[in-house]
């Protein structure tokens, strides 16, 4: 089975701080593999363990993405394609999908895995857009993958409950929390990662005029200021809350 996993390198969300003076987030802390992509990597590795085959990761971004790729290789991925792109967040998702699909297509995958959405820009666009450009079906919010060589039974989270579907390869799956528990790279894996092949590619950006542009990230001003009751007995706090609920016509 040919498995391709798309991963994005993002700022570690725990290191993102807001500079109150400028109203801007600081994004220059540590960079990590986007959290849902770890589930995608794990799912790829498990598919390989069940069906044999090869797992390739693809990551587009600045030179620093090498670290994200190394982590995936250390987890057990076989090889990687690194696409040089100064800043993946400067181009719209459809343009990025157009770039990525060239490299994915060359690998003729049976299964493509992405994260449900990236931790930083959180669009969740890339999976469905890649699937459309590849001409294959996709499933989002995937929490379970069962199945044979070419027919899969997949569960996805929806507002109505867990939807169970069947679908044949080739297909694209978007990994969601609950799908699995991603493994940690072992020491042996980290050593092996150094010797695994990483193909370097430069992106050919299409020249078509963009259909969107966006502002620098900013922190919205807070509008709600509420009442906080502190340092009083529970019964007194309860009385104040119930009075307030009545005032708001919530009781």
């Amino acid at each position: 089975m040919r498995i391709v996993v798309l991963i994005k390198q993002v700022p570690d969300m725990n290191t993102v701080k807001i500079d109150r003076a400028t109203g801007k987030p600081t994004l220059d802390g540590q960079r990590v593999v986007s959290s849902f992509d770890e589930y995608a990597i794990e799912a790829g590795l498990r598919l390989k363990e069940q069906h044999e085959g090869e797992v390739t990761v693809i990551c587009a971004g600045p030179p620093s993405v090498k670290d994200a790729i190394t982590r995936a290789l250390a987890m057990g991925v076989d090889n990687a394609v690194q696409i040089a792109l100064p800043n993946a967040n400067d181009i719209d998702t459809l343009t990025l999908a157009t770039v990525l699909v060239v490299e994915i297509g060359k690998l003729e995958p049976d299964v493509v895995l992405t994260g449900q959405n990236s931790d930083d820009y959180q669009t969740g666009h890339l999976g469905p857009q890649l699937a459309e450009l590849l001409g294959i079906p996709h499933l989002s919010s995937v929490t379970r993958i069962d199945g044979g060589d070419s027919e899969f039974s997949v569960q996805r989270d929806t507002e109505d409950g867990k939807q169970v579907v069947t679908v044949s390869t080739p297909l694209l799956l978007m990994a969601m929390t609950g799908l699995n528990e991603p493994r940690l790279p072992s020491i042996k894996g980290m050593m092996a990662a150094k010797r695994k092949p990483v193909e370097q590619v430069t992106a050919d950006l299409p020249s078509a005029a963009p259909s969107l542009s966006w502002s620098e990230p900013f922190v919205p001003e807070r509008t709600v200021t509420g009442t906080v009751v502190q340092g009083v007995a529970a019964s007194e706090a309860a009385t104040q809350l119930v009075t307030w609920l009545k005032e708001q016509k919530l009781l």
Partner: protein
């Protein structure tokens, strides 16, 4: 296709009827239609969706297109993409608004790729500037926003986060309802839906809930969650949970509120022993009133609470239940 006019909204019908996010899109769709000129058209895809279509027709739409097809009984990306592509061709709108639900977020990017159009995800505000659509969307877990400007001819597409706008109310007028037939080919139906599993039949659904009482790790043990259930009962509310307690197996996943759970927009949201991590806040900050009970005065939940109590939930919650029952008696 050339520059279009008017606004096309896609309504969503779940197992328990029209999703309220659809009515929110009618509100913003109406104001955009007024700002940009043109009609507000709503397309209602699904199986047996006549009743939902009537609600939409009575809530401020100029025209309603119904695509009623038994193959649309359960959501699949392929079928929905085909239906909405057809509706776009039929109406040539300036902008297309799609609910930012799991389904909407699933097919909108596929549709945008098929039509090579720009798409803004999970928008919390939409406006018109110099004739163009401008969308505000949260990024980086919700603490930060970016403003997206659309260029070119469009149609411009946005998925809209549930809870971002008021729900449209009945206007006293009824728009025309037109039935639309869409050809669905094998390529649109590659995914076969077997069933939808409902984890728990006892609990009330969250996405349309008017009131929610949610509990977090502050409850300490699964057994103590009965405090949350009791408070929910006293307030006639549904029960929600943070991911911490869902991951711990105390509560089923469909009760989880937040980035990887449900986005809810009730009138009242009571957070009991929930710290208010950004991933939780993004799922409930659209609530009209937020009440927080937490012993840590620095818990982030207090930053968005309309009414907060700093105290031990094991003392405060029983006192509140008692007080509510006394007020009712």
């Amino acid at each position: 296709m050339g520059k279009g006019t008017g606004i096309l909204v896609v309504a969503e019908v779940g197992e328990d009827g029209l999703r309220t996010g659809s009515l929110e899109l009618l509100t913003v769709g109406r104001s955009l239609a007024e700002a940009m000129g043109g009609e507000l058209t709503v397309v209602v895809p699904g199986a047996e969706v006549v009743e939902a279509a009537r609600t939409v027709a009575a809530s401020g739409a100029d025209r309603v297109l119904v695509v009623d097809d038994e193959r649309l009984a359960s959501f699949t990306s392929g079928a929905w993409t085909a239906v909405v592509v057809h509706a776009v061709a039929e109406t040539n709108p300036a902008a297309l608004l799609i609910p930012g639900t799991t389904s909407g977020r699933d097919y909108a990017p596929r549709l945008a790729a098929r039509l090579r159009l720009g798409l803004a995800a999970d928008c919390v505000d939409l406006a018109v500037e110099d004739g163009a659509l401008v969308a505000t969307r949260p990024i980086l877990g919700g603490r930060v926003q970016t403003v997206v400007r659309f260029e070119g001819d469009g149609p411009w597409i946005a998925t809209v986060r549930p809870g971002s706008f008021e729900r449209a109310k009945p206007t006293g007028e009824e728009a025309e309802i037109v039935s639309l037939t869409v050809e669905l080919g094998d390529d649109d139906l590659k995914v076969r839906v077997v069933e939808t599993l409902h984890e728990d039949t006892g609990g009330k659904r969250l996405d349309n809930a008017e009131r929610i009482v949610a509990g977090g790790r502050g409850l300490k043990e699964p057994d103590r969650f009965n405090l949350v259930e009791d408070l929910a009962r006293a307030l006639n509310a549904s029960v929600g949970a943070s991911r911490a307690v869902v991951d711990a197996g105390w509560r089923p996943h469909h009760e989880q509120v937040g980035q990887t759970g449900q986005t809810v927009a009730p009138r009242l949201y009571v957070a009991v022993g929930i710290s208010g991590a950004v991933q939780h806040l993004v799922g409930m900050q659209g609530a009209d009133y937020i009440v927080a009970i937490n012993r840590d005065p620095d818990a982030p939940i207090f930053k968005i609470a309309s009414f907060g109590i700093v105290g031990d939930l094991f003392e405060v919650v029983p006192a509140v239940i008692e007080e509510i029952n006394a007020a009712r008696a």
